[in-house]
Symmetry: C2
Amino acid sequence: MKKYRPNISDVARLAGVSTATVSRALSNPSLVSEATREAVRGAIAATGYRLNETARNLRHRRTGGILALVPNLANPFFSQILSGVASVLGPAGYNLLIADTRTAGADRLLDYAEPSRSDGLIILDGSLPVSALTGRIPIVEACEWVPGLVAPRVKIDNRSAAGLAVQHLADLGHVRIGHVVGPAGNVLSVARLAGYEDALRSRGLPLVQSAIYQGDFSLESGRAAAALWLQQPQETRPTALFLASDAMACGFIGEVQRHGLTVPRDVSVVGFDDIELIAHISPPLTTIRQPRTAIGQVAAERLLNRLRSIDDTDEDTILPVELIIRASTAAPRR
Amino acid sequence: MKKYRPNISDVARLAGVSTATVSRALSNPSLVSEATREAVRGAIAATGYRLNETARNLRHRRTGGILALVPNLANPFFSQILSGVASVLGPAGYNLLIADTRTAGADRLLDYAEPSRSDGLIILDGSLPVSALTGRIPIVEACEWVPGLVAPRVKIDNRSAAGLAVQHLADLGHVRIGHVVGPAGNVLSVARLAGYEDALRSRGLPLVQSAIYQGDFSLESGRAAAALWLQQPQETRPTALFLASDAMACGFIGEVQRHGLTVPRDVSVVGFDDIELIAHISPPLTTIRQPRTAIGQVAAERLLNRLRSIDDTDEDTILPVELIIRASTAAPRR
DNA sequence: GAGCGTGATGTAATCGGTTTCATTTACGAT
DNA sequence: ATCGTAAATGAAACCGATTACATCACGCTC
């Protein structure tokens, strides 16, 4: 009768040593003589032994996993950040756990900051309640952030990035520049709106309420903004718009084109994020590139540092953005 | 001196019972008298006790996690399936682990089918080596599949789905219908190509090599296919194309438009997948809709069933697709 | 009143590793 | 020859739960 799965004592018995020695041979080989090390190696090969991570984790009082909290897994924007996170966590020997904060019930939220579930948290959702997360396990925030939560943040300077976009439009000669805001209450929406206003003010351009449209980052909300814009009289409506997400920009352009207008001839459009697809639609979209993979990587690295208790600084990491000029922006028609 | 984290003995001591009783009160309350149950409840509240999952998992010889193997996390196509997976796994009390099979080294591949890492596998990458996965833990495949691997598959009928797309073009009156293939060797590419050929044959339409373009599902490869297509003489090149992915269709349309042609006036285009964005570009893309969220959900459910050892059938689940007709297809120009 | 089934609980083994502490051995220094 | 020290190893405690088995009290049957 063969036992289902060999464990460390099976290996020890076969190698003629104690389990302690096998353990040392595996996790700290320098403590073990060359001869025994060889014997253990042979016994492991012979038995097909594989370490049980759960047992090791129990003894080490850790879980070996990092949990990423995502507002909406289906959103491609996040998957690219997660890709960066995964590329760092894997080699470091951590598992990447993922939870969709929208799907999960509020009762489950409390479980997230639970040391028995993961060793650390990467938060990608700025709308979580601080109380549920407060001081239980190490946390790093990426892209978005929870106001009031004390944790290092890895993000871009949304305010000045928005400024870049608007400056670009102003440089082209646009005067009536509009803005489609992200979801109400979202930290990113607020920052980008502020950057938009900053830029208009610094250029002495008019800042009017009728040029600001409410959106929620989604394609559909961009389409809706375009519908509003189309209804405004041509003489007063914006000749250029900065939208707080590429998805909205796509929706906006699609709707505008459906009504027979041409971008950028009839209206210039700048997006935000530089998601892959928008370089290939027509017209290719001018946008602000966020280094999504890098954000994920840096967030993961900083979290790992905290777990190893180096880098105890709470400082934020601000990554650079880039204005990518494509064909959706041009000088206004005279 | 306060202990960092209360454990089950702390609770037992405070409640004046044994740890066994506390354990029973938590996991099988009917075994415990109402009075003790109440005492335990009080002690738990007083200590702030939270169960240590790792310890429980060790005892139960499980990990509490399901691992999804994704070829490329950054691809939005997969994130939507994962979203479906997560929505089932969460409520069922399982953690969702994610690994990017491209990022991870080949040496790590062997760890995936490791019982100490997860209780089950959801495979979204058909290019994995069978040998690494063979018969260690329960597996379900979703969308793609590994030839030769014995595991239930949750997918669509790619062959007949491709047929739908081509039939639609034939119905519109197209005769020279082209196809942009997915990555060489990919199981989906093969099936969709076969479906394309089936449909042409059944309609008695010409099947020529010059109408088949190599792609790899990416935007860029769609663009490249368009470049080739543009070079072909107008009298013989396809008047309509079926592309094996929406991303390629986007790339194709973008390039064609950049050369001053119009879709669908100059060429009709059908994609595959129905990713969200393509409904909003112009022209909105005609495509085959895959129920991505449902695929993820069903895959997760079937895996859970296997873990509970119900549903021992190895049968595949075939989910229905839908032809979504938008504005990128029309009758050929006369 | 003896025998027995049932319900509630405790004792201790167990899951599979890691790690502290003690022991043994070898070797160089005095 | 003696002592000290370092290297190699084993015994056993430990991480924090679960659970097989034992025990005990109670009430019922004949």
